[in-house]
């Protein structure tokens, strides 16, 4: 083991058998000098040529790797010191010192995370188990009058580990009753984990589940399970099919690249079909299997779809959406009025991508409408923290409902202190956007509005450029906000356009002013804005006179703590002629879900303020544009807590 002084001096040269210089392709080693008899010399030379040829081939395949960019959103910001300052805070204008946050020496021995602060982080109406770790939603289904949610659960610690299926039921997708663990790691074929899977309801009402097991040897296999008592609406006990596993990685597929079977749908031949994500080299793919009994399967030639360069496809989802109606479709529905979505969770970048396309049921293949917006390279369900999502057809209300895992973006030490990690997003309905036809829209399920209580309404507030308006509310940790904004036409018209690129993540957030933005709401804000989380629109006028609208959620000043993620998330949002700009924000303690233009662009954020909590949380309205006036109308509802 290297000594600590060596680790402190990582650039000190080390004793290596070969000198460490960058290896060009085709570098060869010196040949040893050996004296042999002529016959043996020939034999040796043959060997030498073979070995040299092999060496060249080997090095040719293992060229130098380019240093990778480590800038992903996985970890909290590694910049330890910037959060101490609050640049461009509105507080300065109001006479509040920029350096308001500085603990008095010796007077305050509490570290950033008091139990008060950590307790506040727990949500009021987002699904989460009582303690420890959760990740992917599994087998969501409506069965005998109950909505079921299963989920990846680590019962031992607030960190991922040996996973079992947690289980909860609800009548309304909002209030939940926790049930015992549905499936444990009690078989050799799921000993390392009862991983993600999906439920299928057969026409006769039977329910079957296919899920991935990580075997005792860490091979990923698919297993069949079904309720021990189909008459039990709570589906408490489960049976694993004695003949498991029903699928093992096929030839050419790595043992660790074969997981997350989908809900099955009917083929024209009357069989059941599923798809399972995988990869071949760097091409993400989705394998297709047909079955009649969920016990024996036939692998179809080729794949449902593949996209080069996207890496492993996890949690693939495949479902129809209606081109005409405003309801969801059973997974087996097909026909001329239908498009199909292929969605996958990209293992490489931890984001969920989807694409709209056409399914050929006879060939078992799907083609995207727009190959430049293909799976993994185009649209995302959500531009914040949102992964491993899965839909189900809710036959109770004829809608397609989306669940997703929302991880923490604080430190593991904090998760251990507070005793839990991860949430589910509020379930969303999914529909094709009938106006743009090139994206879906997502919206929190209507049942969430049952939690709305006291409403505060602000109508036609006029915000001059640079305005900041505190909105007087009884509380601000659990809110449902619906807001509409209008830019003053005159300024928009007279402005000279410029083709300046805008990207939420690189923009510097709400403090970076443009002529026509940013403007929006600042949630979980503290008086003086020492901490605040702006959710905003930024409108840019191009040289051609067209407007582009961006929708962002800015965590860069969300907390004075230095060990939480401070990224800015967001994306462009399509805005059609004549549409006002509208946003909806669900604030629920340490999670903020933001929706623009009725769900065309969605952003889920995790926010961990130290000051803007309990009675000190505020809501502000702002217009940080330099030129335009904005008129805003806002409805703010207090949200009751759900039973969770």
């Amino acid at each position: 083991m290297a000594s600590s002084s060596d680790l402190e001096n990582p650039n000190a040269s080390s004793a290596l058998p070969y000198s460490y210089t960058p290896l060009p392709d085709g570098e060869q080693t010196a040949e040893p000098a050996v004296v042999l008899h002529p016959k043996k010399a020939v034999a040796f030379l043959v060997c030498a040529f073979l070995s040299v040829g092999f060496l060249v081939a080997l090095i040719g395949n293992n060229g130098p790797l380019a240093p990778k960019n480590l800038n992903t959103n996985v970890a909290p910001s590694t910049v330890a010191t910037t959060a101490k300052t609050t640049p461009l805070s509105r507080g300065v204008d109001k006479g509040v010192s920029e350096k308001a946050f500085r603990p008095l020496l010796g007077a305050d021995n509490s570290f950033p995370w008091s139990s008060n602060m950590l307790d506040w982080q727990r949500t009021g109406f987002h699904f989460q188990p009582e303690k420890n770790w959760m990740n992917d939603p599994n087998g969501p289904v409506f069965y005998k009058g109950w909505y079921h949610l299963f989920y990846q659960y680590h019962p031992d610690a607030p960190v991922w580990g040996k996973i079992v299926w947690g289980h909860a039921v609800s009548k309304d997708l909002i209030n939940w009753r926790h049930l015992p663990i549905a499936m444990e790691t009690d078989q050799w074929y799921d000993e390392q984990g009862v991983w993600t899977g999906s439920a299928t309801i057969l026409p006769d009402g039977q329910l079957v589940v296919l899920y991935t097991g990580s075997t005792n040897e860490s091979v990923q296999v698919q297993n069949l399970a079904y309720p021990a008592d189909p008459n039990d609406p709570l589906l408490i006990n489960w049976v694993k099919y004695p003949g498991n596993p029903v699928l093992v990685p096929p030839p050419g597929i790595d043992d660790k690249d074969f997981r997350d079977p989908t809900t099955a749908w009917k083929t024209p031949e009357g069989k059941w079909r599923i798809t399972i994500g995988s990869k071949i080299n760097k091409t993400g793919i989705s394998l297709v299997y047909d079955t009649e009994d969920f016990k024996t399967f036939e692998l179809l030639d080729g794949v449902l779809h593949a996209v080069p360069g996207t890496g492993m496809w996890e949690c693939v989802d495949f479902y129809p959406i209606s081109k005409q109606t405003e309801n969801g479709l059973d997974t087996s529905v097909d026909g001329p009025g239908v498009k199909h979505i292929v969605k996958a969770s990209m293992d490489d970048d931890r984001h969920d991508y989807y694409a709209i396309g056409t399914y050929d049921a006879y060939k078992g293949k799907w083609t995207p409408d727009n190959p430049t917006l293909d799976v993994g390279i185009g649209l995302r369900y959500d531009y914040g923290i949102y992964y491993a999502s899965k839909t189900f057809y809710d036959q109770n209300k004829n809608r397609r409902v989306l669940w997703s895992w929302i991880k923490e973006t604080d430190t593991e030490a904090s998760d251990i202190s507070k005793g839990w990690a991860s949430l589910m997003g509020v379930p969303r309905t999914i529909l094709l956007d009938k106006k743009t036809k090139s994206n879906i829209i997502q919206w929190p399920v209507e049942e969430i509005t049952a939690l709305r209580t006291d409403a505060t309404v602000f109508k036609n507030l006029v915000l001059e450029a640079g305005a900041l308006v505190p909105l007087n509310l009884p509380a601000a940790s659990q809110l449902d906000i619906v807001a509409e904004f209008e830019l003053d036409e005159a300024t928009v018209q007279r402005l000279n356009g410029a083709d300046v690129a805008y990207d939420c993540a690189q923009s510097g957030g709400a403090a970076t002013r443009g002529a026509l933005g940013p403007f929006g709401l600042s949630v979980l804000a503290h008086d003086g804005l020492v901490e605040h989380t702006p959710v905003y629109f930024y409108v840019a006028k191009g040289v051609d006179g067209n407007l582009k609208t961006f929708f962002c959620a800015d965590q860069s000043r969300s907390s004075t703590a230095t060990d939480v993620d401070k990224s800015i998330y967001g994306n462009i949002v399509p805005v059609l002629k004549g549409e006002k700009l509208s946003m909806r924000i669900l604030v629920d303690h340490s999670i903020v879900e933001s929706f623009a233009q009725e769900g065309r662009t969605c952003i889920t954020s995790r926010v961990y303020p130290t000051k803007a909590i309990y009675n000190n949380a505020r809501l502000f309205l702002f217009n940080n544009a330099t030129a335009a006036t904005v008129t805003a109308s806002i409805n703010v509802w207090q949200m009751k807590s759900a039973d969770i």
């Binding site: 040796f44 060229g63 490489d348």
Partner: protein
């Protein structure tokens, strides 16, 4: 008896000295050399994709398992290095609690965050790498670097000079290197 042994030895000598046998033995030697060179090649190439290739090489080559390891195996060696470093730092904290009692509360906080590294991040990362869920290992390594920064920052926040600057920086460096190895594993 003796003549049979002698005959046998003569038989062996004949076989060894024949060109075909020499060819075969040289081929074996070449394969072994190539295999060892290929593994070293993997280590070198992997380390080039990390923020500190020399630190990376140090960590990996210090463990004999690296000779026959694939990329997952190299990542696991890296996680072991995090674990070892974390345990070492925890011991340092215990010693400091005695020699610098005025730093007590800060040292307690450092112990807390390093326990998160060793108890949660390391265990989770190992499980993740072994079962093909490398993304959780990347998360664990990223978190380890942040925990070290939290410990380091805690001293300043309370008006003290950190006696652990070297250790915390070392943990950050190792964590960033191992995170990069896992990143290579993920992105292929």
């Amino acid at each position: 008896m003796e003549s049979r042994n002698t005959n046998f030895l003569q038989f062996l000598k004949m076989k060894i000295s024949s060109p075909l046998t020499i060819l075969f033995l040289l081929f074996l030697l070449q394969q072994t050399l190539l295999s060892a060179m290929a593994d070293l090649q993997l280590i070198k190439n992997t380390c080039k994709g990390t923020p500190s290739s020399s630190l990376c090489l140090k960590i990996l080559l210090a463990d004999p398992k690296s000779q026959n390891a694939d990329l997952t195996g190299l990542a696991l060696i890296g996680v072991d290095a995090i674990n070892n470093k974390g345990l070492e730092i925890l011991k340092q904290i215990v010693a400091l609690k005695e020699s610098r009692p005025e730093l007590g509360p800060v040292l307690d906080h450092c112990a807390e965050v390093y326990l998160a590294v060793v108890d949660a991040d390391v265990l989770s990362s190992r499980d993740a790498l072994r079962t093909g869920m490398a993304k959780f290992a990347e998360q664990g390594m990223a978190d380890s670097a942040v925990e070290a920064q939290v410990c380091e920052g805690s001293f300043g926040e309370h008006g003290h000079t950190s006696p652990m600057l070297g250790s915390n920086n070392a943990m950050i460096d190792v964590a960033n290197v191992v995170r990069a190895i896992v990143h290579i594993l993920l992105y292929g």
